[in-house]
């Protein structure tokens, strides 16, 4: 009896959870779990509006180049520094774990190359970009929402999701793969520098290692991941910002939520792509 009553109490506790979205004033959702589907549905509907035909390509293309500069060039320094150090540390750790007369030192370069191409390059870069670019997108669109700038666009007859989000998504899908390629290059170079400076591996062994047994398909996997991550990094924060309601506090909260949800989405999609392609 006690068990039944506690279960009833639990059900009562989660019975009605009002959604706080701008467009959902009347929706009372039954359980927390269904809220995930509710937001996913809204996200898909937003994307439908994002990919509507632009009012004027000239203005959109200008915005796309502007966003490419913001997302790509603006994050280049950070990506170079992080990936170079990751490559260097990876080399030292692989060398530390694989010290044996039976294992040739060229393996260090090989492992470093493959792990950077397949996992560290795309995923770490994406997580870093989610923090930097994602929170900026969410705050930018969120503050436009709370200061009625999005309403002003809609009043003018402009498709606000298209104008605000499409250039960011296109820029993300183009620039994140480019940044990932640079990250992979920096990580492999960082491994060479780190290994040589510490004496963990001879430069000639490392270079021989990174050249041996190379499978080009791993780069294709990395690029697919980078493309998907680029889409997530821009579209998820844009969704969070677009439907924010309230003021400065809610804009900040939306930025935090965007980064958390975006990072989880990146990790889930990372697993799915790896499982499907390898």
């Amino acid at each position: 009896m006690l068990l039944i009553s506690s279960v009833k109490e639990s059900i009562e506790a989660v019975k009605i959870l009002p959604c706080k979205c701008v467009s959902c004033h009347n929706v009372n959702l039954r359980v927390n779990f269904s809220m995930i589907f509710h937001h996913f549905g809204k996200y898909v509907l937003l994307l439908r509006k994002v990919f509507k035909r632009p009012e004027k390509w000239k203005i959109y293309s200008k915005e796309i180049f502007h966003e490419m500069n913001e997302i790509g060039i603006g994050s280049l320094g950070l990506i170079v520094i992080i990936s170079t150090f990751i490559g260097a540390v990876m080399t030292l750790q692989i060398a530390f774990q694989l010290v044996s007369d039976l294992i040739p030192p060229t393996v260090i370069g090989q492992i470093n190359r493959d792990s950077n191409i397949l996992e560290l390059g795309p995923t770490i870069s994406a997580l870093v970009l989610m923090g930097k670019v994602g929170s900026a997108i969410s705050s930018q669109i969120g503050s436009m929402r709370v200061t009625e700038q999005i309403d002003a666009l809609e009043i003018m007859g402009i498709n606000a999701p298209g104008y605000l989000i499409l250039p960011k998504v296109v820029a993300g899908a183009v620039m994140v793969p480019a940044l990932v390629i640079i990250a992979i290059f920096c990580a492999i170079t960082g491994g060479l520098i780190g290994g040589s400076l510490s004496g963990a591996v001879a430069p000639s062994d490392y270079i021989q290692g990174i050249q041996g047994g190379f499978n080009g398909f791993t780069v294709a996997v990395a690029l697919v991941k980078a493309f998907v991550f680029g889409f997530i990094i821009t579209s998820v924060p844009a969704y969070m910002g677009f439907y924010v309601r309230g003021g400065a506090l809610e804009v900040g909260q939306a930025g935090t939520k965007a980064v958390v949800i975006g990072c989880i989405s990146i990790l889930v999609s990372d697993y799915l792509i790896t499982a499907l392609m390898l």
């Binding site: 004033h25 009347n26 009012e55 203005i59 200061t147 009625e148 309403d151 809609e154 003018m156 007859g157």
Partner: protein, 251 residues
Amino acid sequence: MIEIQNINKSFGENHVLKGIDAIFEPGKVSLIIGGSGSGKSTLLKCIVGLHEPEEGKVFFSKEEFTGMDFEQRVPIRRDIGMLFQNSALFDSMTVEQNIVFALDMFTDLSKKEKIERANFCLERVNLKDKNKLYPAELSGGMKKRVGIARAISMNPKYLFCDEPNSGLDPATSILIDELIQELTEEYQCTTIVVTHDMNSVMGIGEYILFLYKGEKFWEGSNEEMLRSDVQELNDFVFASPLMKAARTTIK
């Protein structure tokens, strides 16, 4: 002309607008007044399509606006100019870019023609030398004037102003009111202003719609308002000692 019929809007359990009907004539400044939370801004947002009413219809020049989808609304929206409560200027753009934005998006004018149009609009609101400033560099009154300049850039047939005087000193408020009235007469546009500024009500209120607890409680001109016996209206309009004194003097 804008006509609204039986507008009802709720947010959850809160029934904000209860069956509002009204006709707003072109060439006239129409005011929507009422206390805080009476549904003024919600009604304005229902008219321009930022909120969808649960019931009721909105007609722009006899064309039903409420039943249209986004694409169908675009031609009507190009005829709408709106001044927002906090101006809602695009803060990443200069004053000139804010005004030129709609022209860029919807016209094929040359760059020179667009700049000329922006200068004309800025001159109209007495801000000609402020083209290259960003919204953050402007005062509250200047932002409102840039908002008006942006609203008139496409020669609107319908002009909406959401509390144009909020946060402004009395002198600037009067300037903004005069500007709205002048532009309404000049463009012969249908102008709807949401306000609770009594100076505006007395100065430019040719048609006044008084909302009380989400219902249309009274309508008429500012002169009729002075002689009205509706208690709720009088409690709202003549709340301040100054207005009470003015009424006594007029009577």
